[in-house]
Each structure stands twice: as C-alpha cells, then as structure tokens.
Amino acid sequence: MANADCIIIQGSNMAECHPVGFQWVTEAKARGARVIHVDPRFTRTTAIADKHVPIRAGSDIVLLGALINRVLTEGKHFEEYVRAYTNAANLISTDYQDTEDLDGLFSGYDPDTNSYDNSTWSYQTDEHGAPATDPSLEDPRTVFQILKHHYSRYTPEVVAENCGIEPADFDYLFESVTENSGRERTTCFAYAVGWTQHSLGAQFIRTASILQLLLGNMGRPGGGIMALRGHATIQGSTDIPTLFNLLPGYLPMPSAGVHDSFDDYVAAVGTPETHKGFWANGRNYAVNLLKAWWGDAATEENDFAFDYLPRINGAHGTYQSTERMLADGVDGYFLLGQNPAVGSANGRMQRMAMSHLKWMVVRDFSLIESATWWKDGPETQTGELKTEDIDTEMFFMPAANHTEKAGTFTQTQRLVQWRHKAVNPPGDAQSELDFFFHLGKRIREKLQDSTDPRDRPILDLTWDYPVDEEGEVDPESVLAEINGYHVGGEKDGQPLATFNEMTADGTTAGGCWIYAGIYAGGVNMAARRKPREEQDETALEWAWAWPLNRRILYNRASAAPDGKPWSERKKYVWFDEDRQRWVGSDVPDFPIDRAPSARSEQFYGGPSHLDGDDPFIMQADGKGWLFAPSGMVDGPLPTHYEPQESTVANPLYEQQNSPTRLTMKREDNLSAPGAGYPGSEVYPYVFTTYRLTEHHTAGGMSRWLPYLSELQPEMFCEVSPELAAEVGLEPYGWATLVSPRSAIEARVLVTKRMTPLNIGGKTVHQIGLPYHWGVGGTGAVVEGDSANDLLGVTMDPNVFIQNSKYVAGAVVPGRRPRGPELVDFVEKYQASAGLSPESGNAHVTVSEEIVAESADADRSAHSGGHRDRGGDSAVGVSPSRTYGGGPGRRDEDGDVGTESGSDQDPDVRLRDSAEDRRGPVDIRPAGATDEDLTAKRASDDGSSISAADDGTLDGADGSPDGSADDPTGADGEDPGSDGEEPGSDSEDPGDDGSQGKEE
C-alpha cells in the first residue's frame, strides 16, 4: 500500500479498525499518494484522508459500476493489460442474457429455488473445446462488449440519485483513479466488512476487481484490493478454516451425494483436464491433507481415507445452525472466540436458540454474555426466558490469551507471523491447541475398544504431537505437519520445501498445501524477524507469506506481456532474458522459467501449459476474469440491487433486491416491507453498524478491561444535527432505536460527521451504531444495549454473511421501556407496519414473463455449463472453478465422466439442495446408507461427535474475499501491513469476537 499513488478506502474504516495496517496508508500519503474515503460516516479514517465522499450504505455497486462505465466509454482502461491478461476477448454463450435484457435478472434463474443455473454464462468454445475469442473486442458477445452494455446505464446521474454523491465528487473520484493508474502509477482499494456485510457483499468486491483489472492495477506494487481482516488471524482461520464448507487450503468440504467418490471430489478441486493453473494439482493437495490427518491409515487402496471425511448436505453456517437450534435440531454447541449473544445478527434469536441446546461449552477469557444469557440476558428481563425453565447445561472453560501461548497470526497480506509465549496462562486457562489435543485424547481413550466403523476416523487420526514437560503440545510440531513432510524413502520425515513437492501417491503428507514451505528445512520461517534496515522494502525475510513467501499475488502482471517491467517506477518482477528466469524483488508468482513468449497448444493440462502471459495462475484459463462464468452464484457480473429493507426503489431495474439472497422468513426475524410497500414509513431511517478502535467486536476482550472501557464507556448512536432536530434528540441525551426485531437505547452523539443524503429528492438519514456493548455478562466493566439485536438475518448467497450495514428503523428520544413493556413496544411498531414473515422477503419483483424467459434460457442452453454449481453452492460446496469450457464439459449429452460427478437431472438436484438449506441436517458418515442415517436419528445420539462437529466447525461465515475462490483472482496486496490492533488485545481463536460479524 505504501507504493500506491492513490488509495480508495471504501467499505472500511481502516484507521479505526486496522490502525496498525493504516501506517502504510500514512506512509503512502507521506510519499504523495491521494487518499479518498468513501463512507456513510466521517470517521477517523476520513479525518486524515484528502477527501470524504459520503455514500448511502449498500449503493456501492452503483458507484463502482459508474466508474467502470466511464472508464470504458472514455477509453481510460489500460488497453495492453486488459487485452493480454483478462478474459475481455472471450466470447460468452449466445444463450446468455444480461440484466439489461431481463430487467435485473440474468439468464438461468429458477424461481422455485431462487438460484441460478449458470450454464448460459459459460465461454463459447471452438471445435476443440478451446475458449473462443475475438481479439478485436468488437463482437457483441465478447466479455468486453457485454461489460460495456451491462454498465451502460450506471451514470453519474444515477450515482447522484442512488448513492447521494455529488457529480463533482464523482468526477474527482474518477479522475483520481484513472490518473493514478497505468504503466507509471497504481491505485489501491481497501475494503472490510462495509462491503462484505450485505446481501450482495461478494459482488461489491467483484465490482472493484473488475475496475482494478480494467485499470491494470492487479498484481502490481501499490495496486490490488486489500481485504482488511478484522482480527489478528482471521485470515489464518480462513486458510485453515473455521468454515463449514472448506477444508485447509481452500479445498472444498465434500458434499453428500455429490462427491461420493474421491475422483468426484478431486474433480471439484481441480484437475489437469480442466485447468491450466495450479488448481490442476488438486489431487495432490487433497491426498496430502488426508495423509496428514490419517497417516498410515490413508492408503492408495482406500482413496487415502477419503471416506473418513464427514460430508455436508446443506448450509451449516452460523445462522442456519441457529435456526436448527430453534427447531431443537442441535444438542451441543462449542463457542470458541465467539460471543453470538452480542456479536451476531438478531441477538434475541441467537439467545433464544441457545436456550434450546442440551449443553453448551464457552471457552473465553471471562464470563461473556453468551455464557450468562440464561441468568441475566435481555430475555430474562422481558420475561421471555425464565432461568428455571432452561435445560441447557452450561460449561465455561477459561482460555489462554495470545501472550500465554505460542502460535501464528496470519494477517491481511497472508503474512504468517509467529508469536512466542510470554507467560503461562493463569489458573486453568488453556490454549485452544492444548484444549483440543487433550479433548481428542480423552475421546480416543473412550473409543479405543470400539468396533463401530464410524469411530475409525477418530481412532485413526494422527494425534501424536510431542508434548513438553507440562504436557503442552509443541506448537511447532503442528506447524511442521501443516508444512508437510516426506513419507517413506530416504527423505522420510523431512519437511517439504514447496507444494510442488507434494505427490498424489502417498509419499508426502501436508496439512495445508498453501502453507507448504513455512517450515522448509526444519526452520520456522514465520518466526523470522530480520530488521527492515537489513533488507529491502519487500522484506522477504520478515516472517513468511503464503504461498511460497510471495508478497504480491499474481505478480507476473507487474511486468508487461513481453516480460519487461511496465515502467521503471513500478518495476517489481520481470523476465531476465540472459538467465531465462523470472526475477525481481518478490518471489515470482509464475513458473520460474516460462518465457513470456511461451505458448501452449493446450488450454488445460496444469501449470506446465500456462502461456507466458497468463499471470492469473490460479484461474482455470490463467486470465483475470472481468466476467465470471462460474464462481459467483448470484451473477457473472455485479449488479445493483437494493439492500433488504431499503426504503429506496432500485433506479436501474424492476428487480428490487437480489433475487438470490438468502432470507429467513420467521416471526422472530421480521423485515421491514421495503420501498413502496405500506408500512415502510414506520421504519424510515437507516441504521448502519460499525466498530470503534477502543473496543473489540462483541466486547469480550475490551469491556472487561478498565483502560479500554473508559475510552468508550457507553453505547451511543451518531446522528446528524438535521436528524436530531427532526426527531428531537438532545446532544448526549438518550435515544431509543427500534427495528422490526428489537429496540435498544443509546446515548446520542449529534455530529456533522453524519451527512443527510439527498436520494431521488428524498432525504435519507443514516444513523451510526457501534456494536460493542451487551447486556449481562459477569464482571464486565461497562454494559449497554447491543446494536446487533436490531439486525435481521438476510444473507449473501455466496458466503452466508449477514447484512449488517443497512437496517431499517425508527428513532425516538428517551430511554427504552423496561421488562415486558419492551416486547409490547416492539410489537406495536411491527403491527403498525403490518409485518409478517413474508414482508420484504419477495425474491422476484419482475414480471412472470421475464422470469419465464430467464428460466427458459437455462433449459435451452446446451449442457456445456455447470450443471452442478448454482444449487451446490447453496448447500455449501465451493463453486466450481472452471469456466464452462474444457474437454469434459462440451459433451452434448452431458455424460462427462470425471467432471460433473452426477447424472442427476439438474433441476431435481437444485430443488433438493434448496430443501436441504432449510431442512434438518445430519453429518452423514461417509458411505452411510439411508438405513444408517435412520438408525442414527433413532438413536438420538445427538451429543456425539455429530453435534460437536456442528458447534465446533460452525461459527464463521464464508469469506467473500477468500482469495482462492475469488473468480478474478483479485488479491493483489502490498507488503508489510499488519492486522493487529493497538489499544486492544489481538485476536485469536480463543478470544471473543464473533466471526459471523467480523471476518
């Protein structure tokens, strides 16, 4: 970031939430960069930015789409880069219909499942199956022309009308990004949960990716899109995930009925038959993971114990689990580093759900609200819960903090930094590693005589970590396992140096392929601390970044197609003609000796078939995807839809909201009716939640500490002077805020930092709400109402994250009612708005004819597309990473051997998937028959490992920025940022912090 010439911070309050990383913005500014903050509020980030552009929450695609439109119409894109490195020239299927044609729908929409079949979004292929292109970019089916068409109505006028941004401000933004892009200069974007926590958050990021690809800012120093992660190792917990649908290294979690054989599964990861890029070696990565977990029990004969892996058969995200708890479908729950009673959306629903559990374990530093809701939560005050009626058995296990254990933090830039243990944890407090190691040992001891095949996966686990004299596991031994090692032969036990050494025959094992090399030569590379004075700016000897210690991903793009740097000023990685190698100040992100002129006959076949100008090496075709044929379940191109509960009509399409967003139609999760519907005036204002520097997420790490609590002692709301006058709010007095879910009280900060926006002639007031406070908890220094109680649950269909940034609500002066009157108060509002579970939850608002046309497009499409993607993603399978071309794909009758993995009728499959999303979920043991399942249900043995799996693996929603799944490969990042936060303790899995809220 320090190398950027212009930095756009949008959807992030970087200075407040990532103050340590913000030093690089400060550095860039000192070197002359322009910093622009696009945000609903004037924050501490804005305070030292060059320019504040106030925006209406949730309208980011309108703004970014308008920038794309103007870049294309004025020809300001980086022509050479776009032609060489993106899929601009690819031709898209003639069956594809754009939102321009269908008033906000793409082709392939299924109104029964509210999901897309993306067969029509695929590349056209020639007779050999190779993607067809038009280098002139003039064919109307080229990605370039489709893109132009798609954004043609995203104009400065619409920006003014929908985002509330003045045309002059738009011009300033446009000039800033275009003048600071090209050969000599680069622009960087930074975002955080202000982009992700929307019902189409992943598409916000996609829009920025498209813009950055057009401007040639990916894979270059000072370019890229910084995904600012909320805690010290949230990036790490995506890499080695706490996500239900991923395994380490972004391998998908196998899905029951889809990945029944290992070959089916490997096809979903990536094969040489479908990929040029590094996913082609998917089999190696999968085999190594299985070998690392099951050691000698994983053999070539048993497909490396693939059947030991649990299968998923639905979405098991945090909110789906909550719903299942409410239906008494979950017995036990582990809470690790999470405080859903305060930190998750719709707090009341969370707390009520926990009251349905049979048992629950909370591991944290103190008795957080999620550990005490049964005796002092808000519902005990309203009388909705009575302590004596709650059957949940609660366990509290004290956790060690980050200074009390050794391990790693992986930060925003994928830099893995080792931290050493400073002191022993107090009392009974344990690290996660210690806790789970001993829990595993005890479970294995209990099972040791078991002959039940379902216990084999646990008994066969490699669970042999060396312990020190105090019985604690040596964390470096875990790092060594993650790194990988040779099995058998003369190198037996030696660490792997790179993931390229991984084999598919069982002679290597490694727990996370992208981390291979972190323990190369038996050296803990993450612990390297060479001072900056002793190395260059890239600082390759400070800690270690995955993959292969590479600091900027796709850095082949930092050189022109001919291998020479784009400019002297932005020189980074280039091809040395004399040595016939890629060289530079970073580890080149490309086959090291592949000459720029190299061309492969094949359009698949793994990395050895990458062309010399295919920089996006994780993509199936080596190109940056302006248009995403697969990977996004809600559309190949980002499209503006209004947020759930928006009081503003979509100015661009008849389709008001995202047609694929995941809704939860429940009495305890009501939504405001939305623009144009009666009752919407009852909730006229927009609440948007955020964090403060002084506190840490749900407060478990800060509200118990006097030094931090005194800095921000009370829950407050930020309102503009105009709104304060309109409602009658006194500065520093009290306000009560009501949403369709709940009502809370807060002190009032009247400030000009909040700007009323003129949206289509109407004034839209946004109210800022920090969400750090909670009611209850034992020993907290400060308490307060929780902003998340106001939120409803509506989710992004790609990653299951909730919309936190746009909540409809009302404000009145004074404190809220106490006790049962609070419930009456909320219900009064609900009644006057006439709310029902259907309110605001319509998926389609276009005519039936259009829906039919969209659906027909799908049926008429030939079967070259991804029959198994759209619905699958909704059941938790990572979206397929291919583009719809490829040899296996184009077979007319769809009978494609290893690739699709199922002959099932796609429509049936989709419908099943959608059912699964809501229906009961079982962790199906591999290969289990229906009889097995029935028996399992009958045994009612919910507190066994199946329930534990739910609780343990659950809790974090998908990451929209998970780089491996990002269809553009948009992850160009800068050296040296650091996700830690000063003034508060850093995050780790044992700490509090709802990952559902922050990622």
């Binding site: 200075a15 407040e16 103050p19 340590v20 913000f22 030093q23 400060t26 500014k29 004037f42 501490r44 980030t45 804005t46 305070a47 030292i48 930015a49 060059d50 320019k51 504040h52 300033y172 403060l692 520097t693 002084e694 006097p706 030094y707 931090l708 609590s709 005194e710 800095l711 921000q712 002692p713 009370e714 407050f716 500065p731 520093y732 002190r747 900060l749 400030t751 000009k752 930092r753 220094v781 400060v782 308490e783 000063p982 003034g983």
Partner: protein
C-alpha cells in the same frame, strides 16, 4: 545537539540569569530527549493513552460515562492520564480562520526566507513564526533557531516574498474543508524552564540526565505546590486514583484497581525507566502512524520545522508548531507539537509562562521595596531624633 543546545538556549533566552536553570546537567552524557507529536497524522486511536497506563500502572479515570466531548472520554491530562487525545470537530468557517491565522504566522517569517547559501547564514527565523506560542510578538528581534540543522528551505521550495504568491507551488488545499475532525495527543511538555520543578519544596521533582522532568514519588510529600506551578495544567496530585465523580446512575461506577503512589504528584516521566534501558517511551513505540515521534529534542524540532514547511507547501497553512520556540514563556518545551489551529482549540495555553520567570524582577522589586522601607525606617529614626 545536546548540552550545547541547552547552553545556547540559556545564553540567548530571556531567562538570562547566566546559569543553567532548573538543575540542567552541565555534563550530560545524553542529548536532551523529547517528543514531536505531529497531530496532522494522528488517527485518534488512543493507543498512546493505553500503552502509557499499562506501562506505568496508572489507574483508570472516571465513572465510565460519556463526557460529551466527541470521542474524548478521558477529558484532560491528569494524575492518571499522562497521554490524552483531544477530539475537536470543526466546520468550514473555523478551518478557514485557522488556515488564515497559520498563513500569517508563516508569512511573518517569509520575507527573509531564502535558500541557504552558506553555512554561516544559517536558517532564517521560521521558528518565531512557527512557534505558535510566540504569536503576537513582533518579527523584529526574533532569534534564529540554533537547532535548525537541516536545510528545509530548499531552493524554490518556499521562495515567494509576496506572502500571497505561491506561484509554482500546488497550494490547493485538500478537500475536506467543509468539515474536519482534529485529533491530538497531549503530554507533559518537559519544559526547558519547568514551573513544577522550580517550585517543588522537597526536591521530589528533578531534571534527569535526558533533560526531562520527573517526580520521585517516594520523596514527594503531596503538598501540591507544583500543581499551581505548571502553566499547562499537566501535573496533578493523585487521590485514591479513581476519581469517583458523583453520578446519578447505579449502572456506572469506577473500576476497582490497585492504585500506586496515592497522594503524590504524578505526571508523564517520558518513560524515564525505559530511557535508562535504551528504550523509547511506551506511547511513541505504540503509535501506529508515528504521529508520536521520540528522539533527540533537536532532531525533533528539525523534523517539526520540515513538516510544517511541507504542509504549508501543500496549502495546509493552518499548520504551526507549539513548543518549538525557545523564547516562549517556558524557554521552549521538550515535547514539541505540530497543530492545525490556535493552541486554545486544543486546550493548550497560547502563551505559557513559567511562574518563576518573573522571580528576578520580583526580587528586584522586593529589593527596591525593602530598601525603601529601610530608608523610610531610617528617616523615621532621623525624625524621632529631631523630636
């Protein structure tokens, strides 16, 4: 720069008592240490406040209620809060005024600003103009800043002789001008002439080998004289540590903490205990944007001058320095600040004066008065003899 600096300071400052006042060390092994707090890059994270309290084991302040002062909830420097971040929200009118007043401050020195041609000419008197504390003085007779060792006036950089002529310089002010949010981390000034130290009757306050001013809590008797002696209102007597201001809310009360050094005077030590071990102060080390810089005071002042010149070049004429002027009422401060408005806006006195500054004059007056009284007494004797 170091001991010489002190000597030079003393030689040419208005406290011309010919001696190194306030127990300055003649043969210090260390250069004078100080902070340069650049508020233009402060992000208000308050990490300095927390790091300071953590290191020094200072108790928490207050009863956990909103102060009603933007994001500031600790209020001011005191016995427990040794770093304090102020938050000031301003609209365009006030920004314009600040820009104007800052421009005047700089223009005061502008006509004499020229690229340095030789060593002897030295830097020209930017300091008088830039030291906000000097506001109101005439430009005549302002001394040069001896510490200014860097040629911040590179050819062409700040050439205009006409105050309004910024030809060739991009003076377009950054466009946040309709509103701004100032943040500034305040701290003990560690004055060249420290009022607290001057008036301490027990010797509990002393000047260290780093030329900073530190309280020895085991010597302090808690008399509180120093509190009145500080022109900045920094030093304070610690009660039981937690100030339980009355509150009518039963959900608010101070946290129960161990309170060290009860009843004694307390203030920033510039982390004396860290300096002796070769470390930098906790606040400076934790500052994520390097808004708080620590080092040799002379370097700090140089950096401050460079930075203010840089900001003026960009049209941010509201920037000015505080504490860098050796001719102010305390002889300059060890903690130098770059601020973006009048000092009063940040709660800083515009013209701080060490109370002992007037001592010589007072002694002289007292002497004259005494002589007069003796004369009068003598006269009365003469008179009585007559009778």
């Amino acid at each position: 720069m170091s001991a010489q600096t002190l000597g030079t300071d003393a030689a040419q400052n208005p406290f011309d008592d010919g001696a190194l006042a306030d127990g300055h060390w003649h043969d210090a092994k260390h250069n004078r240490k100080g902070f340069f707090t650049d508020t233009s890059i402060c992000i208000g994270c308050k990490a300095c406040e927390v790091a300071c309290k953590e290191w020094n084991h200072n108790p928490q302040d207050g009863t956990f209620e909103l102060l009603g002062s933007s994001y500031d909830n600790t209020g001011s420097l005191g016995a427990n809060t040794w770093r304090h971040v102020a938050f000031i929200e301003q609209d365009s009118e006030r920004i314009e005024q600040a820009r104007e007043s800052g421009r005047k401050l700089v223009n005061l020195g502008m006509p004499t600003v020229r690229p340095r041609t030789d060593e002897t000419s030295g830097a020209q008197p930017l300091d008088g103009a830039l030291g906000a504390a000097a506001e109101g003085r005439t430009s005549a007779g302002l001394p040069t800043t001896p510490e200014l060792g860097v040629d911040l006036l590179a050819p062409g950089a700040l050439e205009p002789t006409d105050p309004d002529d910024f030809t060739g310089v991009d003076t377009t002010p950054p466009d946040t001008a309709d509103f701004r949010w100032l943040m500034s981390s305040d701290v003990c000034k560690h004055c060249t002439h420290a009022g607290c130290l001057d008036v301490c009757p027990t010797g509990a306050l002393f000047r260290t080998e780093f030329d900073t001013v530190v309280v020895q809590n085991d010597v302090c008797n808690g008399c509180g004289t120093c509190v009145a002696g500080c022109p900045f209102g920094v030093i304070e007597r610690r009660d039981d540590g937690t100030i339980n201001t009355p509150t009518d809310r039963d959900d608010r009360k101070a946290a129960d903490m161990d309170v060290p050094d009860k009843g004694t005077a307390n203030k920033c030590t510039l982390c004396y205990d860290r300096l002796v071990d070769g470390q930098e102060p906790a606040c400076a080390q934790t500052c994520p944007t390097q808004s708080i810089k620590f080092g040799d005071r002379a370097d700090m002042v140089d950096q401050a001058h460079e930075r203010v010149a840089e900001l003026h070049k960009k049209g941010l004429t509201e920037a000015r320095l505080y504490g860098a002027n050796p001719n102010d009422g305390v002889g300059g401060t060890g903690s130098v600040f770059l601020i973006l408005d009048e000092p009063e806006v940040y709660g800083l006195p515009p013209d701080p004066r060490v109370p002992t500054k007037d001592l010589p004059k007072m002694y002289a007056n007292a002497g004259i008065a005494a002589l007069g009284m003796i004369a009068a007494a003598g006269l009365s004797f003469l008179g009585s003899r007559r009778s």
